[in-house]
């Protein structure tokens, strides 16, 4: 038993850092064994997907310092990509000559629009669900970060962009289903496995993606690029003086985060069985920011848990409308308090408590004679 704070090797530290992530994922994978209720499992899958979305925001906000208030834009784009492919797989009741989606028939569209055509291929749709959000983010990032726009400006522009895309989707009813979104979808089928929204397969698909995106995000934060991104967050001009292309790294983390959000969006369509303009609404986008802040913006696992717990709690309370309204009020107050007094969220709080426990144990090991006051100094 070491009597000092151990100077752990790189590998030990890696394991210590990975441990919370792996524990959380193990719980996620084990849940279906304990929870023998397909309806509940579907709900949990939904919260897990929102967790992935929140992790993607944590990447750009917590690690890159880019507060993207329009994170749901990437989410929505991914969700629509999946919905478009699944819509074309349905055998609709009211269709035109070439199997047009029903809402197009209602809007007197004669031919499938050109941008819908490639979505007949599922692999194209899945690729698009990742690449389109990343490209949109990269383009937006190019304009913003090359123009050296930072901080609050970025937040407003991302928010405004999302609002406008949302309006365009609602406006172009004949091509996007408008306000109603795209409903009555076929089931996702990959390699002969059908993903029923209420089936185990879907749950494990989501759980696998949780593990994947947490690992990708974790790995990124430990690469050189990830470290530079964090350095930019802490002191942008100093990194620039070192000769790094600051904008390039910012664009990269912005686009990567958008791609993960796109993945979450695609999964959301599978779990919810529709796509709707609310998926890229202000409400959702700002909720993601709350979850991330409450969970801990600089901790990937914290952000994930923040989303699952807060969204889950909200879901559980939403049975009664009156309760839900009070809940929103409480939520707002909680959020303000977290921002004011817990800038690192619950993950930061957990860290403080953990450190305190470790210090207490060391102090006890050393014996009372050395005095309690000295424990303050060790880090």
């Amino acid at each position: 038993m070491p009597s000092h704070v151990p100077h752990s090797s790189g590998l030990q530290r890696l394991i210590a850092q990975l441990a919370p992530l792996l524990i959380v994922c193990a719980v996620v994978f084990a849940l279906p064994v304990l929870l023998n209720n397909d309806f509940l499992l579907n709900k949990v899958a939904r919260y897990l997907v929102l967790g992935i979305l929140t992790v993607s925001l944590g990447m750009s906000w917590g690690f890159g310092g880019i507060l993207n208030l329009g994170q749901a834009m990437s989410f929505g784009l991914g969700s629509y990509a999946m919905a478009m492919a699944l819509k074309l797989k349905t055998v609709p009741v009211h269709t035109g000559a070439s199997g047009l989606p029903d809402f197009m028939v209602w809007n007197n569209v004669q031919h499938l629009p050109w941008f819908w055509e490639p979505f007949r291929s599922l692999s194209f749709a899945i690729a698009a669900g990742l690449i389109v959000p990343a490209l949109v983010a990269a383009a937006l990032g190019w304009f913003m970060f090359r123009g050296r726009v930072t901080g609050v400006y970025v937040s407003i522009i991302t928010l405004a962009t999302m609002v406008v895309i949302n309006l365009v989707i609602i406006d172009q009813q004949s091509y996007t289903g408008g306000f109603n979104g795209i409903t009555d979808l076929a089931q996702l089928e990959i390699f002969g496995v059908a993903f029923d929204a209420y089936g185990r397969a879907t749950y494990y698909l989501v759980a696998g993606c949780v593990l994947l995106s947490l690992l990708v995000a974790f790995a990124f934060t430990r690469t050189k690029a990830g470290l530079i991104v964090q350095a930019i967050r802490d002191h942008e001009s100093r990194v620039r003086y070192f000769g790094y292309d600051v904008a390039l790294y910012q664009i990269f983390v912005f686009a990567l985060s958008a791609a993960i959000a796109g993945l979450a969006g695609m999964l959301y369509t599978v779990v919810m069985e529709f796509a709707s303009p609310t998926f890229l609404g202000v409400q959702l986008s700002l909720s993601v920011v709350v979850w991330c802040a409450v969970g801990g913006r600089q901790s990937l696992v914290g952000a994930f848990l923040g989303a699952v717990l807060v969204a889950g709690m909200q879901g559980a309370l939403s049975e009664s409308a009156a309760f839900l309204e009070t809940w929103t009020l409480v939520m707002g107050a909680l959020f303000v308090l977290v921002v004011l007094f817990l800038p690192k969220g619950l993950a930061g709080l957990a860290q403080v408590v953990l450190r305190w426990i470790v210090q207490r144990r060391h102090a006890a090991g050393r014996g009372v004679a050395q005095g309690v006051g000295q424990t303050e100094g060790s880090t």
Binding site: Y153, A160, M331, A333, L340, P343
Partner: protein, 289 residues
């Protein structure tokens, strides 16, 4: 030709509403560096205040403007004093805090007066229309135009010709030096935020007869107002005015040719492209580090 003039007048009308809403936002952002996401909720509070004064006290809209300004400004003062002043060196976090405050205000209003749409009556004296360049225009819209210009003038005077304004400008330049000259920065910030909030409240009250009043009415306004501030650049009141009317004319014009949504999308696209080349906004000569 008539149609052209009509478009110009419509654009001016849209622009004056944009200016009303953006003015408070611009002051707060320009002087304190705070993006006030609760701004839309201040607008909403102003609109509800107009409704309350009219329904329960029988006050007309024009008579209740001053009390509305004071009530919403008081809200702003409290929020600055007890929330934002705790976030001195964390500008990104002020976005979050103001947003949280916004949710609470919106939800509190929803719980207290319900989410039904409310309507505020046009002032009877301004309910007819008048002729501008041979085009019939609602008198109320002309009134809004005049009020927005007047409020801009008052704000400009306040910033540039009064002691409070001078202190504020000193703090913007260098807070610690200003403080060492005996300027109470906390008090000036609180007053500035209260003034910006009061302006938002006035904007809400003034637009309430044109649109219905609901708890979530603020969201739509606030995004448009942000675009005005981004285009106009910070620390430039004149820039805010110019960009409000440019955006008003643009939206009016494109909306005439296409529709509202397309207009918004094109305007946003233009702003994003512009930011690449003039990140400091259209009308700012230089930026201080």
């Amino acid at each position: 030709m008539d149609q052209f003039i009509e478009q110009i007048v419509t654009g001016l009308s849209i622009g004056s509403i944009l200016l009303l809403v953006a003015l408070g936002l611009s002051i707060i952002y320009g002087s304190m560096g705070i993006i006030n996401l609760a701004h839309g909720e201040f607008v909403m509070l102003g609109a509800y205040a107009a409704w309350v004064f009219h329904t329960y006290l029988g006050l007309g809209l024009l008579a209740s403007l001053v009390p509305i300004f004071l009530v919403v400004a008081a809200f702003g003062w409290v929020i600055e004093r007890y929330v934002l002043s705790l976030l001195n060196n964390r500008p990104l976090d002020t976005i979050l805090a103001t947003w949280g405050v916004g949710i609470m205000l919106q939800q509190a209003v929803r719980l207290m007066v319900g989410s039904e749409l409310r309507y505020v009556q046009l002032p009877p004296a301004l309910s007819d229309s008048m002729s501008v360049f041979g085009i019939p225009v609602s008198s109320y819209r002309v009134f809004l135009f005049v009020v927005s210009i007047a409020l801009f003038g008052a704000t400009w005077l306040l910033m540039n010709r009064t002691t409070v304004g001078m202190k504020l400008r000193a703090i913007i330049q260098d807070r610690s030096v200003a403080a060492s000259f005996g300027i109470n920065a906390k008090r000036v910030y609180a007053l500035t935020f209260a003034y910006g909030a009061g302006l938002a409240g006035l904007a809400g009250a003034l637009v309430s007869p044109l649109k219905s009043v609901s708890p979530d009415m603020g969201t739509g306004y606030v995004v448009d107002a942000f675009m005005v501030v981004v285009l106009g650049g910070v620390q430039s009141l004149a820039g805010t005015v110019a960009s409000a009317f440019i955006l008003g004319e643009l939206s009016g014009g494109i909306a005439f040719l296409q529709n509202d949504t397309v207009a918004k999308a094109i305007v946003l696209l233009a702003i994003v492209v512009l930011i690449r080349f003039r990140p400091e906004g259209l009308f700012t000569a230089r930026v201080r580090a």
